[in-house]
């Protein structure tokens, strides 16, 4: 153990601990800007500087390791003055249109400026020359608000291992962007949006579709259907002050109704439908010698990664559309026919914890009714924004219930939002399909938890199923390498693009670096889903009464010709860089 004093308070910590961590141990928060736990610790922004007795200059607490006998001072006038100047210099080249900024009141730079009583216009100097990047359907980069903290670069390079952005040039001319300063849409970005989640300012945000949704709601000709994904109910509450991990499904339904949506259905329902098709496809592949292992296809960021980086593995991906796309497809075919509505009049809005879903809706071969399956995608954050804009007092409204028939779901559908959830849901159905029996155990605990890669082997009716679950692209890459080199003996592999799964998707409420430092957010958000599963009336997708009805009256069997036409799709190999 290393013994030191921070602000004259003795503290003992393990060797290798940083001053920042040691200070936290005795209840002292040192302010940070570029630092983020597990993502970025580079000592670049100089906001976390502290005085160390005997040291030549101030040191960056986020990277400076403690030494025996060290004496640290975190709040001397010299330290405070240095931090204040640093923040004022950052502000001198910052687009200070804070009043209308997407991140107003939850911006880490704004918080620091306030905390240090900064004069935002103290230094009026040159400004970066930069244009907004609007090239993709899912993300906007506005470098006029970038503070060069490099968190986005770190998450893209280290956590997702795609590294499509980096620092370009040097000194004052430094900007964050793609190779050869190409637009993001011309790079092999997987659209995960993790960069948005780690950005301390408003330099990155999703491509909003609120205006399109409002226009559809205002159009009396349109029947506007809302479909929230599992993880939305596990994250939305955070925007309204609920503790992390609170399931706000009921209030969310009421809020959607108050916003003017005509029908509130549930993407959980089509998560169940995905399981019906995917479990069937898996069994078919095993029986008939199809490409194995089979990969899940629910996560559009993952699918995009595969298309760019491992196109040779495309035959291994399930041909099932994602729950979002199945949702739109069923609304505009089965539901439209059942209700006698012209599908051109239906406007389907999915609400997603995800930015890649905004890309997914633009994919080819996703228009079962002849019209796009999905018309607009809102992130959890955009939904929260609309609720606030409409003056809906989320905390005070009563809980509502989903509309029938497409609002009925099982516990298997709801756990889709957590890493391992799709696998567990599929195993519940596959096991009963293979054995032809009703099994008591529905919980597959080895595939639960927030670990990056999980493996398990299950015996199902004499069939040995070796499965793997990976979340985060760095982990997906490891699994892909194994499969590509022929070293995988797995039958079924679930991959989710974002670490921890959709609950931690790029469209979920932003957590500051302080929250990330102190909270096990992946597990907490997932726990809301597992609790919902536990108390669900039905816990297996094939027990969903509406799913049964859908097959009986419309689709026939899982994997039928009709099911294929409506619920399955194709993939394309993508060139990483456009010449």
């Amino acid at each position: 153990m290393i013994n030191l004093k921070i602000n004259n308070i003795p503290v003992s910590v393990e060797e290798g601990t940083t001053i920042l961590q040691a200070a936290k141990k005795i209840g002292i928060r040192i302010p940070t800007l570029c630092y983020m736990k597990e993502i970025n610790a580079i000592g670049a922004c100089r906001v976390c500087v502290v005085e160390v007795k005997g040291a030549r200059s101030l040191v960056a607490a986020c990277v400076y390791p403690v030494n025996e006998g060290m004496e640290v001072f975190t709040d001397t006038p010299k330290v405070r003055e240095s931090r204040k100047t640093t923040i004022e210099l950052i502000l001198s080249d910052h687009n200070k249109s804070c009043l209308s900024c997407d991140r107003n009141t939850h911006c880490e730079l704004q918080d620091l400026a306030y905390e240090y009583g900064c004069n935002a216009v103290k230094y009026e100097g040159e400004h970066h020359e930069c244009e907004k990047d609007f090239s993709t359907p899912y993300l906007v980069r506005d470098n006029s608000k970038c503070v060069l903290c490099r968190r986005c670069i770190a998450v893209c390079r280290k956590i997702q291992e795609v590294g499509v952005i980096g620092p370009i040039k040097r000194g004052f001319k430094t900007i964050v962007g793609c190779a050869f300063e190409s637009e993001l849409n011309d790079s092999p970005c997987v659209a995960c949006g993790q960069c948005i989640n780690v950005c301390p300012t408003g330099a990155l945000h999703e491509r909003e579709e609120i205006d399109e949704v409002r226009a559809a709601i205002a159009d009396p000709e349109k029947i506007v259907i809302a479909g929230p994904a599992p993880s939305v109910r596990a994250g939305l509450g955070e925007e309204f002050g609920y503790p992390m991990g609170t399931n706000v499904e009921g209030k969310m339904v009421t809020a959607l109704r108050m916003l003017g949506f005509d029908k509130i259905f549930d993407v959980n329902f089509t998560a169940d439908l995905t399981i019906m098709e995917e479990a069937h496809e898996l069994i078919e592949r095993v029986k008939n010698g199809g490409a194995l292992p089979m990969f899940t296809s629910c996560s559009p960021g993952w699918v995009r990664y595969l298309e760019y980086y491992y196109p040779e593995l495309i035959p291994n991906v399930s041909s099932c559309k994602s729950p979002q796309q199945m949702f739109g497809a069923i609304c505009k075919t089965y539901y439209a026919e059942k209700m006698g509505i012209d599908p051109s009049k239906i406007f389907v809005v999915s609400i997603m914890p995800c930015t890649a879903k905004k890309f997914e809706k633009t994919r080819g071969n996703q228009n079962a009714s002849g019209y796009p399956d999905i018309d607009a995608v809102l992130t959890t954050r955009e939904l929260a924004k609309m609720i606030k804009q409409n003056g809906i007092l989320f905390n005070e409204i009563p809980e509502g219930e989903m509309d029938q028939p497409l609002g009925v779901y099982t516990g298997a559908g709801v756990i889709f939002g957590a890493t391992g959830g799709v696998m567990e849901a599929a195993l519940r159905t596959a096991a009963e399909t293979i054995t032809g029996q009703t099994l008591d155990n529905v919980e597959y605990k080895k595939v639960r938890g927030t670990k990056g890669i999980k493996e398990a082997t299950y015996e199902v009716g004499g069939l040995k199923l070796k499965v793997a679950v990976a979340s985060g692209i760095a982990n997906a890459k490891k699994v892909c390498e194994k499969v590509a080199s022929g070293k995988s003996d797995h039958t079924f592999i679930e991959i989710m693009c974002c670490p921890g799964g959709c609950v931690n998707g790029g469209g979920q409420p932003i957590m500051s670096s302080v929250v990330r430092e102190n909270v096990d957010y992946k597990a907490l958000r997932a726990s809301a889903l597992y609790k919902a599963d536990k108390k669900a009336e039905y816990r297996k997708s094939h027990d969903n009464p509406v799913i049964k009805e859908l097959y009986e009256n419309y689709l026939g069997e899982p994997g039928s010709h009709k099911a294929h036409e409506i619920l399955h799709t194709t993939y394309v190999a993508r060139e990483r860089y456009k010449k």
Binding site: R157, V162, G163, V164, I165, G166, P167, I168, K169, R170, G177, C178, A179, F180, S187, R576, Y577, K579
Partner: protein, 163 residues
């Protein structure tokens, strides 16, 4: 004034083979990117996207990472150099002695802001101090050094480099 001339990539098979050999030797070497870029620039004379893509691919790095390093260090160039590489020192001593005017005159005469002329004969760069401040303002054309320059000498000097 014309913008930077876009020069089509004219790398040869022999150059590529040479580069691949270099990269093979650097595989799994820590910090391989700098020597890779240096040697690639020796082979091609500059670092176009085609070359950076090969480096990224073979060293298992993202293109953005390669590009970031290539644009960080002034020793690397992303545009090819002309047959005559003109460098004008804009370091402190040269600058106060009027090298800015010399640079502007060159820009005017060559019709480019920087980079390479469309006939690929000249390339123009602003450089830092080249270590002969006594001769300020200074410019170099390949290995020839011209000192104590005034802007009306430029046309005459360029006339010597026409072939």
């Amino acid at each position: 004034m014309a913008n930077q001339t876009k020069v089509p990539f004219t790398g040869t098979k022999a150059q590529e083979e040479k580069l691949l050999k270099v990269l093979k030797g650097l595989k799994n070497v820590e910090g391989a990117l700098m020597p890779a870029l240096q040697q690639a620039q020796d082979i091609y004379g500059y670092l176009p996207i085609e070359v950076q893509e090969i480096i990224a691919d073979k060293l298992d790095l993202s293109l953005a990472e390669v590009y970031g390093v290539a644009t960080f260090y002034s020793q690397f160039t992303l545009t090819p150099k002309g047959k005559y590489k003109i460098g004008v020192c804009l370091g402190t001593a040269c600058y106060v002695k009027g090298s800015g005017e010399v640079f502007e005159e060159l820009q005017k005469q060559l019709g480019i802001e920087s980079g390479i002329t469309s006939d690929l004969l000249y390339s123009l760069d602003a450089t830092r101090c080249i270590g002969c401040c006594g001769l300020a303002p200074v410019m170099t054309i390949n290995d020839d050094v011209y000192g104590k320059l005034t802007k009306d000498q430029i046309a005459g000097i360029l006339a010597k480099y026409k072939e």
